[in-house]
């Protein structure tokens, strides 16, 4: 019998394994040293080793964007990054953005426009929106749809999310 939730992704049992490496990276402006296998997914390291559970796992195969983080300022799916590839980079998760006042404005826009319902996609949506607004502070609705096209939401139907990003742009989140 196949259980959907337990068969996804690589196993991450960690019990003082000798094949683990020490990997240094910067997460949310803090230099951290983690012990991990080179092929551990950045997603698992962020959630399980660092306890930053704002980053979600959805599909585990780069389709849904729930696990979005910024790596050296670039939006990536952390489920597709072996942690060794993130060595020496600067990672920003939703927790890191939350500590940044401008992103609170992005969050407020999501709240005001009903851009979050169940909330699983929201951290990824906000990271993708942040990444978009950095490149295009005044995006059109079409550009927003494209910028968030790698982030799936099964609740809102996207209209409120697009509106939220429009509203955030109006409030000048990225400027």
């Amino acid at each position: 019998m196949r259980y959907f939730f337990v068969t996804k992704g690589p196993m991450t049992k960690s019990s003082g394994d000798r094949s683990k490496l020490e990997i240094v990276l910067t997460v949310n402006n803090k230099v951290v040293k983690v012990r991990a296998h080179a092929m551990d997914r950045l997603l698992d390291v962020v959630r399980q080793e660092l306890g930053l559970t704002g980053t979600k796992e959805g599909c585990g195969e780069g389709e849904c964007g729930s696990c979005s983080v910024l790596m050296d300022g670039v939006l990536v799916n952390s489920c597709l990054i072996p942690v060794l590839q993130a060595k020496g980079t600067k990672i920003v998760t939703i927790e890191g953005l939350a500590a940044n006042g401008r992103v609170c404005a992005l969050r407020d826009a999501f709240l005001d426009c009903g851009g979050a319902q169940c909330g699983i996609c929201t951290p990824g949506m906000i990271l993708a929106a942040f990444h978009l607004l950095k490149k295009k502070p005044k995006p059109t609705a079409e550009e927003i749809r494209e910028g968030l096209s790698g982030n799936l939401c099964r609740c809102t139907g996207y209209a409120q999310i697009v509106e939220a990003v429009m509203e955030a742009a109006r409030r000048g989140v990225a400027t």
């Binding site: 068969t7 996804k8 992704g9 690589p10 196993m11 991450t12 394994d17 094949s19 991990a36 296998h37 080179a38 092929m39 551990d40 997914r41 585990g60 195969e61 780069g62 389709e63 964007g65 979005s68 670039v74 939006l75 990536v76 799916n77 489920c79 597709l80 990054i81 072996p82 060794l84 590839q85 060595k87 993708a128 990444h131 978009l132 494209e146 910028g147 968030l148 096209s149 790698g150 982030n151 799936l152």
Partner: protein, 289 residues
């Protein structure tokens, strides 16, 4: 079966020469990984066959676009985002920049690479029909040296390529001779992003004195490898684009491809859409005159 990370090895030798030496020492033992947008999916599902991976992600030698008077050389580890942001790709190789824009979502475009797309050798890959119509050439590099091969025959069969076990793609070369062509790219899939094509078309056309002097058509998802529609091209060469010719070309295209039924579509639908896409291109090309 999911993967257990401790069963896998991943190393980052740093320089390209070190990677090539490693591949030469143990040919076939090491699987190069760049952005990981394909390999990590197989890995998570426990379906990745290689247990030893060597990173070529972000190697500066592979991540630049060099511009020469007669061609451009795109480093194999350039991402789709790199392609979209490159002015010269946008201006002179529009088919490639459109294909890059509808590959995955933004995060995938930030990680996925052109070289990875070629080596992964999916018949449904978005950017490969563009490389066929531009008649790209590839620099293949190994510790033994470098060779330059036409991309046209690089895919020898379903997911099989000419790449030797100790070789990497270093760069993709595109000749700068398509500025006078009308370019048209179209992907048919269930949704714009994050969807694999049911059929995709890359097309170039040149009209001189009302006559189609050069037509280039390539499609994805309609055969075991991305294919150039040479029969259809031949049927069009030197002709005026009139409705009867459009109908003939559309039928030739539908017959020339070898589509299959699979999870994404049916052979019948693909053949019908392939014909329609060729017709749509020719109608637009005709209206350019």
């Amino acid at each position: 079966m999911r993967a257990y990370p401790a069963d896998y090895e991943l190393i980052r030798p740093g320089a390209l020469t070190d990677v090539l030496l490693l591949l030469a020492r143990e040919p076939g033992a090491w699987l190069p990984i760049a952005g990981g947008t394909d390999l990590m999916v197989q890995y998570a599902a426990g379906k990745l066959l290689g247990r030893k991976l060597v990173s070529i992600w972000n190697l500066p030698e592979l991540r630049r676009i060099e511009v020469f008077p007669d061609e451009i050389q795109i480093g194999a580890a350039c991402t789709y985002t790199d392609l979209r942001e490159s002015e010269i790709v946008r201006d002179e190789f529009a088919l490639l920049s459109s294909a890059a824009s509808w590959t995955g979502g933004i995060a995938n475009q930030n990680q996925g690479t052109i070289g990875g797309n070629i080596v992964n050798a999916s018949p449904a890959a978005d950017s490969l029909p563009a490389l066929l119509v531009y008649e790209a050439e590839l620099f293949l590099v190994s510790a033994r040296g470098e060779r330059r091969v036409p991309y046209t025959n690089f895919h020898v069969d379903y997911r099989k390529t000419q790449l030797a076990a100790d070789e990497l793609i270093r760069a993709v070369c595109l000749a700068r001779r398509f500025s006078g062509y009308y370019a048209h790219a179209r992907k048919v899939g269930p949704r714009k992003s994050q969807a694999i094509a049911k059929v995709c078309l890359a097309a170039l056309g040149k009209i001189e004195k009302d006559v189609a002097t050069d037509i280039r058509l390539a499609m994805g998802s309609v055969a075991p490898v991305p294919v150039r529609l040479t029969e259809t091209e031949k049927a069009l060469r030197g002709k005026r684009i009139v409705p009867e010719l459009v109908r003939l070309a559309s039928q030739t295209a539908a017959k020339e491809i070898r589509p299959i039924d699979d999870i994404r579509s049916t052979a019948r639908y693909r053949a019908a859409v392939a014909g329609n896409l060729v017709a749509e291109f020719l109608e637009r090309l005709g209206s350019q005159i």
